[in-house]
Amino acid sequence: MEQKRARLLWQCRRGMLELDAMLQPFMEKVYDDLPGQQQQAFAELLSNPDQVLLEILMGRTIPENKDVANVARRVREAAGP
């Protein structure tokens, strides 16, 4: 469990500030309270290449998998001032 979380935290380090600024706070503030299925979906979301991930998190592309789409929406909502 701990190891899986640690691994995901590293996967949140990306090549673009926009992604870092959404993923890292989400991991710190929201991830632990998610049900298992959504945690899984978050891991799946992270497996996308950076540009695709940016499109998804900006809401310009909706992933086919409903859970992934949901968790992406939550990541976007959690970003902000």
């Binding site: 590293w10 090549g15 500030l17 950076d50 809401g59 970003a79 001032p81």
Partner: protein, 586 residues
């Protein structure tokens, strides 16, 4: 000591465009190449480059490499080395076509040729009409380059160590670089990679500043490693700030927003750029606009409760223009500020963008250091990309020239390494004391107990650099900056980690990144204090003019004794006439 070891001909540290282009050249020549990257290669920062890459293809408007060279020399405020600039501009077309063959899907014109867009600082005929020199793969040029180069490397059988963090270079008594100590991030286990040649391609150091456009991985690790190996850093006082970053967050809002008619306002609702640049106004060059914003804030005309930003007005452009011409920007603003730019103005502040300085190299990518007469190469060490200072960008980089720099000099370094390997066919004997030193850097973080937190100290460092070494620089401000950074550096010794686990211990990596940032911060602020002139990105309020008599030279900062030396700018190109320094007006 049972330290695991591997041996390669070449170790490349960094898998961005620079590291990958170089590795490809080498793997194709059957050299045995290892590429180490702290993140998965295609997550390197090159992926963020959207604008494009410069080459005088003349597909849209007349152009040639010599005009590109002129623009680059002028853009550098004459601090760029003209031999390296000629080399880069001459090579540009060939390298862009090569990228096309590797699979980069460049945007096209109706006639099938590569589309080219105009960018700031580009001219025809040595300062004449606007040129169109930037080739782009839609708005994902860096992404396309990175993925294509990665695929080519896989095909060429480059050996990748993904998610390995390089700790320090290994060096012997004769000054040869023998490889590096790295850690596998997943297991936390150290690994010694011995190599006949080592290439640093670790990218920039935007994380030096609180507000920056860079990914969080851009902590200038290669620069820190070089300093600790006794190598100076060149021209660190030159850091490019982009005038319009999202205030407090850093994300870039492109010049395009002002190009489309957006403009800046202070708290009195004044279009203040009219005062600073009566002709170009909001479209003046990056350094001018950045300084104007910083001045407004310093003089109490900033907006918001803290008065620490200005506003970028876009709402008069209308929803349709915003959606059509600036879609990405609207999304970014809405996501991070929860503001609709079609209704409200956007808080902006200058954001640190590009590291012009770096590890001194010649145009073959070899790391060079000053000796009594001239320069000497560090045997077995190369650098390419944003971490290197060739120097083609001098005091100020032009948009689109960095992606070019990384492929041109990545390839050049690859070619030179092939020659070096022919003459140096065997691994040298390992130097154990150097290995122990590197290991000590790692084990230091096993210390337990209470102490300062990495995150707190990093934040203080970034805020200090922003305040005392940002766009607004005077002797007093910079002196204070040096003092503050020295105090922070002392506190490094008290930092302790709470997490001592091995597996994916992000905290330990972040601690080592902070050590690197600390070293580079000092190099930057000390170099900035010493340079008493304004040139390119380095602007001193107390020395507003460029001073070619005293300061047409590169700075070199040494960690030992925090010493500065200087070396001349190469004004002589390879084959054409030199462009002598002139006043830089746009």
């Amino acid at each position: 000591m049972s330290l695991a070891r591997r041996k390669f001909d070449v170790l490349a540290i960094g898998a961005g465009g620079g590291g990958l282009r170089s590795a490809l050249q080498l793997s194709r020549e059957e050299a045995n190449v290892a590429v180490v990257s702290k993140v998965f290669p295609t997550r390197s920062h090159t992926v963020a480059a959207q604008g494009g890459i410069n080459a005088a293809l003349a597909n849209v408007l007349p152009d040639n490499w010599h005009w590109h060279m002129y623009d680059t020399v002028k853009g550098s405020d004459y601090l760029g080395d003209q031999d390296a600039i000629e080399y880069m501009c001459r090579a540009a077309s060939h390298l862009v076509y090569e990228l096309e063959h590797y699979g980069v899907p460049f945007s096209r014109l109706d006639n099938g040729k590569i589309y080219q867009r105009p960018f700031g600082g580009q001219s025809q005929n040595f300062g004449g009409d606007q040129a169109a020199r930037t080739c782009a793969a839609a708005d994902r040029t860096g992404h396309a380059m990175l993925h294509s180069l990665y695929q080519q490397n896989i095909r060429a059988k480059t050996h990748f160590f993904d998610e390995y963090f390089a700790v320090d270079l290994i060096k012997d008594q004769d000054g040869f670089i023998l490889g590096a100590l790295v850690v596998e991030i997943e297991s936390g286990e150290p690994l010694l990679i011995e190599a006949k040649t080592t290439l640093l391609a670790t990218g920039g150091a935007g994380q030096l500043f609180r507000t920056n456009t860079n990914a969080r991985i851009n902590t200038g690790d290669g620069l820190g490693m070089a300093l600790r190996a006794g190598i100076p850093l060149q021209d660190m006082e030159f850091f490019q700030f982009h005038p319009t970053g999202i205030a407090g967050k850093g994300m870039l809002i492109t010049e395009g927003a002002r190009g489309e008619g957006g403009y800046l306002l202070n708290k009195d609702g004044e279009r203040f750029m009219e005062r600073y640049a009566p002709h170009a106004k909001d479209l003046a060059s990056r350094d001018v606009v950045s300084r104007a914003i910083a001045t407004e804030v310093r003089e109490g005309r900033g907006c918001g409760p803290e008065g620490d930003y200005v506003l970028l007005k876009l709402d008069h452009l209308g929803q349709e223009v915003l959606n059509k011409r600036l879609p990405g920007i609207s999304d970014t603003i809405q996501t991070f500020l929860h503001i609709d730019p079609a209704k409200e103005p956007v808080p902006v502040f200058p954001t640190a963008h590009y590291t012009m300085g770096g590890i001194p190299t010649n145009r073959h990518g070899r790391v060079v250091v000053p000796v009594e007469q001239g320069e000497e190469e560090i045997p077995g060490l190369y650098a390419a990309g944003e971490c290197a200072c060739v120097s083609v960008h001098g005091a100020n980089r032009l948009g689109g020239n960095s992606l070019l720099d990384i492929v041109v000099f990545g390839r050049a370094a690859g070619n030179d390494i092939i020659d070096y390997l022919k003459k140096n066919r065997y691994h040298r004997q390992l130097d154990n004391s150097s290995v122990e030193q590197a290991m000590a850097r790692l084990t230091r973080w096993d210390q337990k107990g209470d102490g300062e937190r990495v995150a707190d100290l990093r934040y203080e460092l970034q805020a200090t650099m922003e305040k005392y070494c940002g766009v607004f620089r005077t002797k007093e401000v910079l002196q204070e900056g040096v003092e503050k950074v020295l105090q922070l550096e002392k506190r490094m010794a008290d930092v302790r980690l709470h997490d001592h686990s091995r597996v994916f211990n992000t905290a330990r990596i972040e601690a080592m990144e902070l050590e690197n940032l600390m070293d580079i911060a000092l190099a930057t602020v000390v170099s900035a204090l010493a340079r008493e002139e304004s040139r390119g990105a380095h602007s001193r309020i107390d020395f507003p003019q460029r001073d070619d008599v005293h300061w047409l030279k590169h700075s070199l900062f040494f960690k030992e004794g925090r010493r500065l030396e200087y070396k001349p700018v190469t004004l002589k190109p390879l084959s054409v006439e030199s462009f002598p320094p002139k006043e830089r007006v746009y």
